[in-house]
Amino acid sequence: MQSATRAAPAAPPRPPADPVRPRRRGRVRTCVNIAVGVFLAYLVVFPLGMLVYSSLKSSELKLPFDIPGFTFDNFVKIFSSPRVLEVALNSAIFVVGTVAVALAISVSLAYLFERTDMPGRRVLAPSALAPMGVPATVMAVAWVLAANPANGPLALLVERVFGLSVDIYSLPGMILVAGIFGVPSMYLMLAPTFARLNLEFEEAAATSGAGWLTRTRKIVLPLTLPGMSAAAMLLAVIALEEFAIPSILGTPHQIFVFSSLVQAALQPPSGMSDYGLASAYGVLLVLLSLVMIALYRRQTRESHRFKVVTGKGYRSAPVRLGRWRYPAAAIVALYVLVAIVVPILTLVWTSLTPFLQPISPHSLGSLGFANYGTIFTDPNLTHAVVNTLVISLVTATLTAAFGLWLALASSRGGRAGRALFDLSFLVFAVPSVVLGVAVLFLYLFLPIPVYGTIWIIVIALTTRYIPRASRMLQTSLLQLDGGLEEVGRVSGARHGTVLRRVVLPLVAPSVTRTWLWVFANALGELPIALLLSNSDNRTVVVLLWDMIGESANYPEASALAVLLLAVSAGSVWWVNRRGFQQHI
């Protein structure tokens, strides 16, 4: 009876404490990974280096590299500006407000579309996303036409019905428009999180007596927090650097935000861009993004807590709304009507008019398709459409691929992977146009023959979108239980097979969404396309900008915008059919 063995069988003499060498088969993979890593580092590091370099050159009227020595003059100039406090406050209000509006709307939409049995989801969900590929400039113009206090039908309607006079040319107006503009991107990031949320978590809370509100607040929100904070961060940066909306809606009453400063630096009264100053703003944004990385990492540090996709029984039966089904649908429909349909209708209306005019029954007679005729006979259009499609498709594909690689590297690539992932975040905050300048400088001087071709735009856009795409994908990877992969390997499948058969199919919906997001954004991205445009690589948005910016030909511009909208809506619809109907 006294046979119980107390200790382990005597261990052999302890071997040297060397770490065990990596497995041999992994070495080819390691080489490939290093190559991709180096390439990504190259994409990211060079523009950043250019940015820092230029920011230390006081280069008003000159180019950064024409100036010897380094100086902090640009930073001194920024912080000694009398408007700095006002602008900081406005920017803070604008960014926080925009994120709050977009978050509130997109969380509600994601919850209603993905988690509930609300009627009409199939129609409402894609329509909420449809305007994703339309540039902010165009949307801002559409909002001005639809809701300006003088003759915007929306503002007049509100005034007549509620007796309120709303002024879109105000900070709240900017916040509302920018918030609504941010909804599609944000929704796209949040939808998977909500779609995959295990109903059992909610049920568990329900059975412990928590009401819907408590349940949502205590269970659903915390579980979706990493997804939400990632999305909020994305939008915060977009809001910070977005200049079309503040410029169109803020300038009338001289409401300046951070991006106005960047814009003023690039187009000062002296006529020539002050790259040094613009770069200094870029550096400040990069620093700000470092703070955000820290916050984000703090939040997702215990990422295992947020693994809502496990290999364990989860069913995503929709939450029953009961008697709230139709009211909820009505509210969402109203949102879609006001926020999506009315601006789009305004665009369509404008595209049919001979000259810019507010929507009114009196001018119905003058409508026609002349503008469409003009743009379709424009010999440049075909070329621009081809350019646009190639740029958008290639950028979306490259970005999704690199983004996935980077997201995988961040969760599975050890310290180097995480470092690279964080590094990529630094370009995330660089304003589009400043990044464009860095890329421009770089390829003007490098003997790589991309300057003036569509490929320089592809490179710049890919660099720009990689951090966003990789974060969108990382949130979905964070939610994947590692056990799903491990069990594949233990079943005898090789790394590659597990990646192909298990990981990729599981993240496929997210990859599709990311691809769509990049595609739509590349379609509508203006500052980079404009800056890098040359005679051979002009895109549809650049043509659009020509019409808006130089000839004030809003009707033709609207016709082109309607075309862009059609492409964007079409791709949303296509991805919706393929990607969103997942069995998960």
Binding site: Q2, S3, A4, A8, P12, K312, E486, A508
Partner: protein, 376 residues
Amino acid sequence: MQTTEHAVAISGLEKRFARKQSDEVSLAVDNVGFTVPRGGFFTMLGPSGCGKTTTLRCLAGLESADRGEISMNGKAVFSSAARRDVAPEDRPIAMVPQSYGIWPHMKVFDNAAFPLRYGRKTCSRGEARTRVLAMLEQVGLSEYADRWSTQLSGGQQQRLALARALLCEPEVLLLDEPLSNLDAKLRAQLRAELRSFQQKFGVTTIYVTHDQGEALAMSDTIVVMNRGRVEQIGTPDEIYDSPASRFVADFVGSANLVPGVADRTPRAGDRMVEVKTALGVLRCARFATPPAQTGDVHVCIRPEHVRIVPATTDTGEANRFPARVTSTEYLGDRREVVAAVGDVEFRAHADAHLRIRPGDDVGVVLDPEWTVALWS
């Protein structure tokens, strides 16, 4: 010694984890070693964080240990001395992880067929189909083959995970708390099923659990782990009846523990050791051999071996002490009594219909045959 009669042999296994914040290195697995005979059902039991799952993951190749040797069927799959670390896919194993790892993007059939399509031993489509369907039949899931795996209930998912693991034709089956996510009733049912599958397929099984009931009911051998170390290895009854340490006594079943001092080193051949405690001298027929030395010991006795006797009768029995009832609890099949001897409280399982009330004076008898002296 790695002879082929052992399906698995581990020795000197060590796994460090560096904690980022404090910069201190902690040992998740500390010098663990054991052998598992072919066809045996071997259980690693311990509280969460004891290193059992880490050990299992080292066995699976999902983690690389820092030191030690692991061999399966006499072949080394891990050896820090030889710098050998065979990839999980090249080890003759299968695993059911705690979360089951059922892939939500595949149908039930595809989940089960994965090992036959992409695993170590692949086979033709036709054969795979036959074998998968046969296996699903075995686990009672044949009618679900074309469903999405997410439509299965918890118990069905567990069976699917097991079916998939068995289709790997493993020499060693690794199970990581596969029952922990199920409700109690289902757990009892699946526990029996699991054991019968294991016996039917005769596959060597290493099972990780923190549930002592599961461990006792299913295992041929149990290893109790604590803080990365092996506390005791033995058959279920050895573990329960002769715990080797206070930790094992306390973790497996419930135990009354009384501190004391052994002032005489028992000689070889002694049947009893005597321990001086606050109650008086306790005689213990069970003790780890050889008792290390004199000094502080704990005496352990299970509640079912504590007899409550009337206070008046004094038969001069060994380990008998006067006591006062503190509380009693009627549990239907028995009555749980807490009786205090001086400051020391004992829990005892008494006859359900024993008529005592708190405050009654009684006697407690600690059966020396079942009293264990513990040096650690």
